[in-house]
Symmetry: C2
Subunit: 151 residues, 2 copies
DNA sequence: TGGCTACTGTCAAACGTTTGATACGTGCCC
DNA sequence: GGGCACGTATCAAACGTTTGACAGTAGCCA
C-alpha cells in the first residue's frame, strides 16, 4: 500500500486547468496594463467604464458586484474618473441619496481609444487560435465559470 | 457613411475571450480564497508553496518572476511562511547572501491539505466539462498565453 | 588585478484595496 | 401608520502590493 493515498501534493498540479487559467489571465492583464498605461488609463478604469457603457445608470454597489470588487474600491475609481470628467453621477429618480452612473462624452471618447488597445490584444489571440477555437475557448470558459458558481 | 468607423466601443466587448477569461479567473480565485480561508491559508500562500514544491531551491527573485509579482511581495509572503515554519531559507552554496527556498515538513503537510481543496475545485470543473473538453480548455489557454507573450 | 555589469536582497514611502462600522433612505409586513 | 429589514453610501483603519532607491556579491573581460 502506498503511503500517499491521502494526497501526494499532486505532481501534475501545474498542468491543471486552474493553473493555466491563472497564468493566462495574468499574462493578458499584464499586457493590458502595459499598453493602457501610455494612454493614462489603468485596466481597472477600463473595466469600470466598459461596464457602465454596457449598463448605463448602474449604482455603485451593483457595479461593485458585477466587477467582483468592494463598493469602496468602486467609489475610489468613480471619484477619480469623475474628476477627469469621464464619468457622471446623477441622482436616482426614486431614491434620493442613490447615485446613477453615466458616461460623459469625454468618457465615451476615452473608452473608445482604450477599447482599441484591448481589441488589438483580443485580435492577437484570435489570430493565433482561429475563429472556431477562439469561440470554443470562450464557450469552455463560460462552462467553467458556471461549474464554479454552482457550488 | 457611419461616423463610428473609428470604433463604436464594440458592443460585443463583453463577449470577448479576454472578458470571459477575466470573469472565470475571478470566480475561481474567489472560490479558492473562500475555501482556503478556513484552513488559515491565503491563495497567494498556496501558489507560492506549490511553486517552491515544484522547483525546490528557487531564489526569491526567480520565484517572483514565475508568479508575476514583485520581489518585495514574495519577501513579505516568505517572511510570514517562515515564521509559521512552513518554509525554510537556506544559504546558497555559491552565492553567499542569496537564499534558497525549501519547504519544511510542516510546509509539505500544509500544502497537501490546501491542495486537496484546490484539487476539488479542479474536479468540479472537470466533471462539468468532461475529460476531453477540460484538456482542450487547458491547451487553448496555453495557446492564448503564448499568443500574448509573443508580442 | 581592476573595474564593469548583472543579479539578488532589503529598506522606505506611496498607492490601492479590503475590512469593519455607521448613517440615511426606501419598501415591506404586521 | 409604526417598526423592521434591506440596500446604498460614506468614513476610518489595517493590510498587502507596487514603486523607487540602495548595498552586497558573483561573473566577465580588458
Amino acid at each position: 500500500m502506498r503511503q500517499d493515498d491521502e494526497g501526494p501534493v499532486a505532481a501534475d498540479a501545474l498542468d491543471r486547468v486552474t493553473w493555466a487559467l491563472r497564468r493566462t489571465e495574468s499574462a493578458v492583464q499584464a499586457l493590458k496594463e502595459q499598453r493602457l498605461r501610455p494612454l493614462g488609463m489603468a485596466a481597472a478604469h477600463y473595466s469600470l467604464l466598459m461596464r457602465v457603457h454596457a449598463d448605463p445608470g448602474l449604482t455603485g454597489a451593483e457595479l461593485a458586484r458585477r466587477l467582483n470588487v468592494t463598493p469602496q474600491a468602486v467609489a475610489s475609481l468613480v471619484a477619480r474618473l469623475e474628476d477627469r470628467g469621464q464619468l457622471e453621477r446623477r441622482p436616482h429618480p426614486r431614491h434620493r441619496h442613490v447615485q446613477e452612473l453615466h458616461l460623459t462624452d469625454a468618457g465615451q471618447d476615452a473608452l473608445r481609444v482604450a477599447d482599441a488597445v484591448v481589441a488589438e490584444i483580443e485580435q492577437q489571440i484570435t489570430d493565433k487560435l482561429g475563429p472556431e477555437d477562439a469561440a470554443r475557448l470562450t464557450a469552455l470558459l463560460g462552462q467553467a465559470a458556471d461549474a464554479v458558481r454552482e457550488t
